[in-house]
């Protein structure tokens, strides 16, 4: 749970503007974007995600570099993605 993982925003849920669907290393799940209140979040933006919440917006280059790094660390990131896969936030 300690990792911050980059995800790309696919869409903001129309009935729940505090939730966004994101793509994290190919896993597509809903996360909460309420902590980014006051910032514009749109499809195509990248966010740093921690336990189902976007903590900050990051640029694409940082997101790609961080993802590549996380994919290289092995088990800790695999466990995080496995946990995210089980997540069903609404």
């Amino acid at each position: 749970m300690c990792l911050g993982i980059p995800g790309e925003v696919i869409e903001i849920l129309s009935d729940r503007p505090d939730l966004a669907r994101v793509d994290v290393s190919g896993v597509k799940r809903a996360i909460n974007i309420g902590l980014l209140a006051g910032e514009r979040v749109e499809p195509g933006d990248w966010v740093l995600i921690h336990v189902g919440f976007a903590l900050s917006k990051i640029d694409e280059a940082e997101a790609r570099a961080a993802t590549e790094f996380l994919e290289s660390i092995g088990k800790a990131y695999e466990d995080e993605i496995a946990a995210l896969r089980e997540s069903r936030i609404i």
Partner: protein, 375 residues
């Protein structure tokens, strides 16, 4: 492309390594603490100590929330989970952390329902689906994680959920750093500041370290080059006689943090007068509890807990490892009685714990075996 990038990275790492060596004064020892468990993981995984001169030592700090939770709180959680109406939820990392009578898996084998979740919001969903059960979220983590718990409580309040509560174990990094600075055991020359915690709290809360203790702190990213760059920045400050807070990770960490996250923590939670940290003992104002106005969501008020303080196992030296007084391999039970499969201490449980990181990446070089055998 990847190979080219890796080659460039290795080249940059070697260049940084040379710049670091050039800044070190011969005969002087430098000790830097990396506060965050994520940094510890990177340091061992990539063997970063091999890029540093011998007189630069990295000391691993207490920034792994799973590692610093005391046994008594695990026992309290299991006590709550034993109530027949309770369904507890927890991050996966917590499941193998030992309490005095076993961990969450052992407890489930004896009949409790403690389920792993990715997010506190998953616990809300479980609460909605199980209206006959009391769903209790085992909340742990530093300021990185506390806003997520707070937002979840606000959502539960908005929905009027009556069967969801939080067993709050959120802790704060600044009081822990202060406790380490005030500890007589350890002389540090500076800090590699945590990355994701700082995304929330920003860089200003560290200013007292530079102002009152005269030590530099550099907030760092998680990649190997980030950490080497931060060590270079620390050494440069020392060389130039400065003690400042600098932000190497500004591509992610804003200087002022995340104001919304800080506001929701303050809305839902307040400081505890004191809290016990594994290995560090009781630290004043170092943890959060639920505010009175959210008492309906506070598992500590809804359910009785024994609240008994449990001493760490005698053989375990996690306390010394967490304070950076001992290196993981210097612990008496490291790699023998205590392994990631059968951890005695919490530092061996979490992949971000110093002992597990060290064990998993086999950085047990011959020089260190020699060091270990003479201590």
């Amino acid at each position: 492309m990847r190979f080219v990038d890796e080659f460039r990275n290795a080249e940059t790492a070697r260049a940084l390594s040379a710049k670091i060596a050039a800044l070190c004064e011969p005969g002087r020892e430098y000790k830097f603490m990396e506060v965050c468990g994520g940094h510890t993981h990177t340091i061992y995984k990539h063997g970063l100590e091999d890029y540093l001169p011998e007189n630069v030592t990295l000391v691993h700090g207490p920034g792994c929330p799973v590692c610093v939770i005391p046994m008594g709180r695990i026992d309290d959680a299991i006590h709550i989970a034993r109530r027949p109406e309770v369904l507890m939820t927890s991050f996966g990392d917590m499941m193998r952390v030992p309490g005095s009578g076993g961990n969450f898996f052992d407890s489930n084998a004896e009949g409790t329902s403690i389920r792993m979740v990715y997010s506190p919001l998953d616990s809300l969903k479980i609460a909605r689906q199980n209206p006959e059960r009391q769903v209790v979220f085992m909340a742990i983590g530093f300021e990185t994680t506390a806003p997520s718990t707070a937002m979840t409580v606000l959502r539960a309040a908005k929905e009027g959920l009556e069967n969801f509560s939080v067993f709050c174990n959120h802790i704060m990094i600044i009081p822990a750093i202060k406790a380490i600075l005030d500890s007589p055991d350890l002389r540090l020359d500076g800090f590699i500041g945590p990355g994701h915690v700082s995304t929330v709290i920003g860089c200003r809360p560290y200013e007292f370290i530079a102002r009152d203790y005269g030590k530099p702190l550099v907030v760092a990213g998680f990649e190997p080059l980030d950490i080497l760059q931060s060590i270079y920045m620390l050494l440069l400050q020392l060389r130039e006689g400065r003690a400042e807070v600098e932000n190497q990770y500004s591509r992610v960490v804003p200087w002022d943090g995340n104001p919304t996250a800080l506001r929701v923590i303050g809305e839902v939670m307040e400081l505890r007068p004191y809290f016990e940290w594994r290995g560090l003992g009781f630290i004043s104002h170092s943890a959060l509890r639920m505010r009175q106005r959210y008492a309906a969501f506070d598992a500590e008020l809804l359910f009785e807990t024994p609240g008994v303080r449990v001493a760490d196992p005698k053989a375990c030296q996690c306390g010394e490892v967490l304070k950076g007084v001992l290196k993981p391999w210097e612990c008496k039970v490291f790699g023998t009685a205590c392994t990631p499969e059968t951890p005695i201490g919490t530092c061996m449980v979490s992949p971000e714990g110093a002992c597990a990181a060290y064990y998993n990446f086999g950085r047990f070089t011959r020089t260190r075996v020699r060091e270990a055998s003479v201590t």
